[in-house]
């Protein structure tokens, strides 16, 4: 395994009950890279993302075959606690989902309950909010409810909340699809900044976004990994016809 690989999938199949959602996926994700997962709705890209921190465990009747190695250890091995995995692989969701708590407590929640980085919470909260470029906007209202923030601010708060756990990997499931263009631009800048310290895997429906922010792009279609390459290559000289059709807007 290459030293700059952080996650590696080996022949992964995934089933919802009887129906197969992912077929024989083998791929690697590079450390401190931004990898974009693209493809039409229902192609399995979100399913794949949620496999990486075992969020699909929450759905009854799902089944995984194959191996997903995180730092060379299979996260689906029987002795692995999914709770431990999720501490190292954080997630940001499609719709901003802050807790109905204060801004401060949204950030402090994870560290406080898990005991991870729980030493100096004030510093941690400030640090996390600065990392997600929200600090200047909220530093005077930390004890106000997070529900009063705008959608874009809420999403940056959710990013800060994930960062407070100091994860190695940040999974983002269409993080800007519910946001306006200005908030989207802010989040994209933020991703650019975060990739210095984190590995980011992002699902997006927005071709331009994938082209702008990612280093690598993987194109999925009906549960299959069709093409996976440097983003530049995918968007200029795709090797597979289906990829080209998709990114040029001929289908999907």
């Amino acid at each position: 395994m290459e030293s700059n690989t952080i996650i590696k999938l080996k022949d992964v199949n995934f089933y919802y009950g009887q129906s197969r959602a992912l077929t024989d996926i083998s791929m690697t994700f590079g450390k401190n890279k931004v990898t974009a997962l693209i493809g039409p709705s229902g192609c399995g890209k979100s399913t794949l993302l949620r496999l990486l921190n075992r969020m699909n465990d929450l759905i009854d009747g799902t089944r995984v075959e194959g191996e997903i190695l995180f730092e060379e250890k299979n996260i689906y091995a029987p002795d692995v606690d999914p709770v431990e995995i999720r501490r190292k692989i954080g997630m940001v969701f499609q719709k901003p989902n802050p807790f109905p708590k204060t801004i401060y407590n949204n950030i402090a929640y994870g560290p406080k309950l898990t005991g991870v980085n729980a030493g100096d919470l004030d510093t941690l909260v400030e640090q996390s909010l600065k990392q997600s470029v929200l600090w200047d906007e909220v530093k005077d209202v930390l004890n106000k409810s997070a529900m009063n923030l705008s959608g874009g601010q809420q999403q940056r708060l959710c990013i800060a909340r994930a960062l407070a756990m100091k994860p190695d990997v940040l999974l983002m499931d269409e993080p800007t699809s519910a946001l306006d263009p200005i908030s989207t631009a802010k989040i994209e800048e933020l991703i650019e900044e975060l990739k210095k310290d984190y590995t980011i895997i992002i699902v997006t429906h927005n071709m331009q976004q994938a082209a702008r922010i990612s280093d690598e792009t993987a194109f999925f279609y009906i549960g299959n990994l069709i093409e996976y390459n440097k983003t530049e290559k995918i968007f200029t000289k795709p090797e597979v016809k289906q990829t080209e059709d998709y990114i040029t807007g001929r289908f999907g």
Binding site: V83, R87, Y109, M147
Partner: protein, 292 residues
């Protein structure tokens, strides 16, 4: 063409008026009935109410004096029923909605719980007599009565709690779990606090029922007459609903005690409303800050 269009519009307006009329009439009938009952109780009962009535025990073979032991008994029994029914009910609902694998067994369990809600209260009373009073040797006591009432309101509380837990957005659970917070902590710190107002709303129904039931406490807790206040949870108590039943059917002088009967009914309604009010205050306190 134009006129047929007009006609169909008119027809639709007419239908709308008729349906709105029916809905308004239903609301009015309910309000009037409820108002009528309350007016009747207050009108007949208010004369009996005095400071002595609510602070003194009955005298002269219960034809005079107050109903203080019964008020206290009902409060003890209701609080006891809540103390037993609420935690047990919430815990069951958490298991059913958050932990249990949804399938045939759970569906069967839920049907069972719903059936329990429909079981006549006298059956609970007999169960309490057989199990708590005789088998567990708790005797006719506050403990037996509270347990019986607690089990009686359990299905109501489980049902309300299940609905409240289900209404907490899944995204909250996902957000918490994705931070590496355990399932139990997520349930305890995120799901339960957000479900609590809903749980209390539903439980208020159960509380009212526990305070007002006669049959379940008849064999398990209620005394015909005792001037002595309970010293422990193993003592018998008087209770308002049973006191009303006794005065109205088996009293020493039924006609002469009519005003006392109405007064007791009024006090019972007031006690139930009072306990509900406490629940409502707790709920509104919990609801501050809860918006999503």
């Amino acid at each position: 063409m134009q006129s047929s269009k007009n006609n169909s519009m008119k027809w639709r307006y007419l239908k709308q008026h008729v349906f709105f009329g029916i809905v308004r009439a239903s609301a009015l009938i309910i309000t009037l009935t409820l108002g009528g009952i309350i007016f009747y109780i207050v009108y007949n009962g208010i004369g009996a109410i005095s400071w002595d009535f609510i602070t003194k025990p009955p005298t002269h073979s219960m034809t005079q004096g107050g109903i203080m032991p019964a008020i206290l008994g009902t409060i003890y029994l209701t609080v006891g029923a809540i103390a037993i029914g609420l935690p047990l009910g919430i815990a069951s609902a958490i298991y059913l909605t958050e932990y249990a694998k949804q399938g045939r067994v759970i569906r069967f369990l839920k049907v069972g719980i719903n059936c329990l809600a429909g079981v006549p209260s006298v059956v609970f009373g007999l169960f309490g007599l057989g199990f708590f009073v005789i088998f567990l040797k708790f005797g006719s006591s506050i403990l037996s009565g509270s347990l019986t009432l607690g089990f009686l309101i359990l299905p109501t509380i489980i049902g309300a709690s299940e609905e409240a837990l289900k209404s907490v957005p899944q995204t909250f659970r996902e957000a918490s779990l994705s931070l590496g917070v355990s399932k139990w902590q997520t349930t305890y710190r995120i799901v339960l606090p957000n479900a609590m107002p809903g749980i209390l709303t539903g439980s208020i129904l159960g509380i009212g029922r526990a305070a007002g039931e006669t049959a379940p406490i008849m064999f398990t807790a209620a005394a015909y007459f005792t001037a002595k206040l309970p010293g422990s949870i193993f003592d018998e108590v008087m209770a308002l609903p049973y006191h009303i039943y006794v005065l109205a059917t088996a009293g020493t002088n039924i006609e002469a005690t009519r005003p006392i009967q109405f007064g007791t009914v009024l006090v019972l309604v007031a006690v139930v409303l009072g306990i509900d009010l406490i629940a409502i205050i707790i709920r509104s306190y919990m609801r501050r800050n809860k918006r999503w």
